[in-house]
């Protein structure tokens, strides 16, 4: 009798548990029980300077690319009214799942106050100088050497001997990479790395006589002052050699071709990477090279020095400079 009662009781309990599980499954399917995945991840965006257009473009593209159902954002811009101390407090109170920093200052401060939060950076010039934590990810600020050289060859074909001036103190690794990429692309890199300020003019003239195009890279020793920059550009025009470089700032000096990273693409890349980090997916490249390019072609300068460009590449050019 007692055994029978125990069996019945056990059966009832089993039925009850089954019923409960069944109801929970139904409720879950109906969306009544909030799934844990519905709880959006919080991303804290730190912007170094709201007035910088490039930063603004990155931020807008990042927000627009994010999946709004699974992510929410909080923004903080460093300025006179928003101090690093406030940032520290806000990170603590908001307790975000990820910090996205735009610009070098934002990256430095996020690393300082971000505790153990994953940090994603973009638009940080020469990010390698800031050190690197385990859970730091980013989008580099410069295009890869291979992309720069490939696009240069596409727009200005037939200019196979590329001259480059650099200080080994700053650019040894970058040039080693460029040498490798140039060989793969069938280009020859002609290097000038041993020069004194007084003999720069003579050395540049010698270099220009051996090359088809001069590649001006970010090197603080070479681009030390306005006069030096002007001298290099003037000599280059005299020798009818085009200059390819990385920033629109050199357009007024007479750069023929500028190949830079496309900033909205950097924002979209960062958003995709942020989602990979938050979903704990395997990250193949911790710091990605920018995928999009922005090309400016100075047709006026090219006509002056009688250099032809590939007209079929014009649909890839963002900006065309004509003579006024």
């Amino acid at each position: 009798m007692i055994a029978q009662m125990k069996m019945n009781f056990s059966k009832s309990i089993n039925r009850l548990i089954l019923k409960l599980i069944f109801q929970l499954v139904i409720l879950f399917l109906m969306g009544v029980v909030p799934a844990f995945a519905d709880n959006p991840s919080k991303i804290f965006i730190v912007n170094s300077d709201a007035t910088v257009t490039k930063y603004r473009e990155v931020k807008l593209a990042f927000i627009s690319q994010l999946n709004k159902q699974t992510n929410s954002t909080v923004e903080f811009t460093i300025d006179d009214n928003h101090t690093p101390e406030q940032l520290e407090k806000l990170i603590k109170s908001e307790n975000p799942d990820l910090i996205f920093s735009i610009g070098s200052q934002a990256y430095q401060l996020s690393s300082q106050y971000g505790e153990n939060k994953p940090i994603l950076f973009s638009s940080a010039i020469n990010w390698q100088r800031f050190g690197h934590r385990d859970n730091t990810f980013g989008i580099a600020n410069e295009l890869s050497m291979s992309q720069e050289l490939s696009l240069s060859r596409y727009v200005l074909p037939g200019l196979n001997r590329i001259g480059v001036i650099y200080d080994p103190k700053f650019n040894t690794e970058r040039i080693a990479e460029a040498r490798k990429q140039a060989t793969e692309l069938g280009l020859t890199l002609v290097e000038l790395n041993n020069f004194e300020a007084d003999s720069l003019e003579k050395n540049v003239e010698e270099l220009l006589s051996k090359i088809d195009i001069l590649w001006l890279i970010a090197d603080p020793s070479v681009l030390s002052d306005k006069d030096t920059v002007e001298k290099i550009f003037n000599l280059s025009t005299e020798h009818k050699k085009p200059i390819i470089t990385y920033s629109n700032a050199f357009m007024s000096y007479g750069a023929s071709l500028i190949i830079a990273a496309d900033t909205p693409t950097m924002g979209r890349q960062a958003a995709n990477l942020a989602q990979n980090i938050l979903l704990h997916e395997r990250i193949k490249e911790v710091v990605q090279t920018p995928a999009g390019s922005h090309i400016a072609l100075n047709v006026c300068q090219l006509n002056k020095i009688n250099i032809r460009y590939n007209a079929d590449a014009l649909d890839a050019v963002n900006q065309i400079i004509e003579c006024k």
């Binding site: 596409y154 390019s293 649909d315």
Partner: protein, 280 residues
């Protein structure tokens, strides 16, 4: 001066002003609706932010040949509003967009773009480390153009068999096809969607990266850029159409066309019937 005289003067002034106003209104209404004919341009297949360059180069060219102007658009909705509200001028748009729009706002294709003798192009999906379509799940696919366009091309290429994969794919919109193809080479994307022509160009630009990419799928052939007018066109655009068609005959005009990725135009009425019926 009495109050009455003052009131009479005021009445007189108001009358004069009103008659001037009505004359002006009448003049405006009887004048041709906009003396400048405009080319409106929007292309969802490219994200190259070159609108300022396009505007200045085309305006410069067209304005030398008559009362013509060029208006590029970065937003699809704004372009479509201009099309439905104005119903005048010439609309340059991708054939993908043309097909979609044609059902809402009837259009009449007048010219089709030509590049290297071809009127059509095919989109292809290429990858380096991904060898099957089912492995695309969770991968990032880079492509030029709007997300909507890239997704549409993917759906068409992969078909219903792989429709479950598409929501699991992350899209990365880049400015141009070459960027998308190179993004695979650098490990930023798992696969790229690009035109077959751009893939062949990569062989010249970066042979090593080209050799690493394998084709996973391809889509149907589509026309290049289309020049169209609306079927309820308010103005006669024959002079502007002639100018656009003639661009390929002048070196300077041909160079402007290159900015749109074209070498020239072909008239729709000169196409083979099997081709022209695709644009009806």
């Amino acid at each position: 001066m009495s109050i009455n005289t003052f009131t009479n003067i005021n009445r007189c002034t108001i009358k004069t002003l009103l008659s001037v106003f009505f004359t002006l209104v009448l003049l405006i209404q009887t004048a041709p609706a906009g003396t400048t004919s405009t080319v409106f341009f929007y292309n969802p297949e490219s994200s190259v932010d070159n609108f300022a360059a396009l505007k200045s180069e085309f305006d410069d060219y067209l304005s030398n040949l008559g009362e013509f102007a060029f208006q590029p658009f970065s937003e699809r909705a704004t372009f479509e509003t201009a099309l439905t509200e104005k119903s005048q001028g010439i609309y340059l748009l991708s054939s993908w967009h043309y097909t979609q729009l044609n059902s809402k706002t009837p259009l009449e294709a007048k010219l089709v773009g030509v590049s290297k003798g071809e009127l059509q192009q095919r989109k292809i999906l290429t990858a380096k480390d991904i060898s099957t379509i089912s492995s695309l799940s969770g991968a990032t696919i880079a492509g030029a153009g709007s997300d909507e366009y890239i997704k549409g091309q993917l759906q068409q290429m992969l078909g219903s068999e792989y429709s479950v994969i598409i929501p699991k794919i992350k899209l990365l919109s880049v400015p141009k096809d070459i960027d998308a193809l190179m993004a695979v080479g650098y490990g930023v994307a798992g696969a790229a969607i690009s035109s077959e022509t751009s893939f062949n160009k990569l062989a010249m630009i970066n042979p090593k990266q080209h050799a690493q990419l394998k084709k996973l799928a391809d889509g149907e052939k589509n026309f290049l850029l289309i020049a169209a007018v609306t079927k309820v066109q308010k103005t006669d655009e024959t002079p502007l159409l002639k100018v656009i068609e003639g661009m390929q005959d002048q070196e300077i005009g041909e160079r402007k066309l290159k900015m749109l990725g074209l070498d020239g135009w072909k008239r729709i009425d000169a196409l083979d019937a099997s081709l022209s019926k695709q644009l009806r």
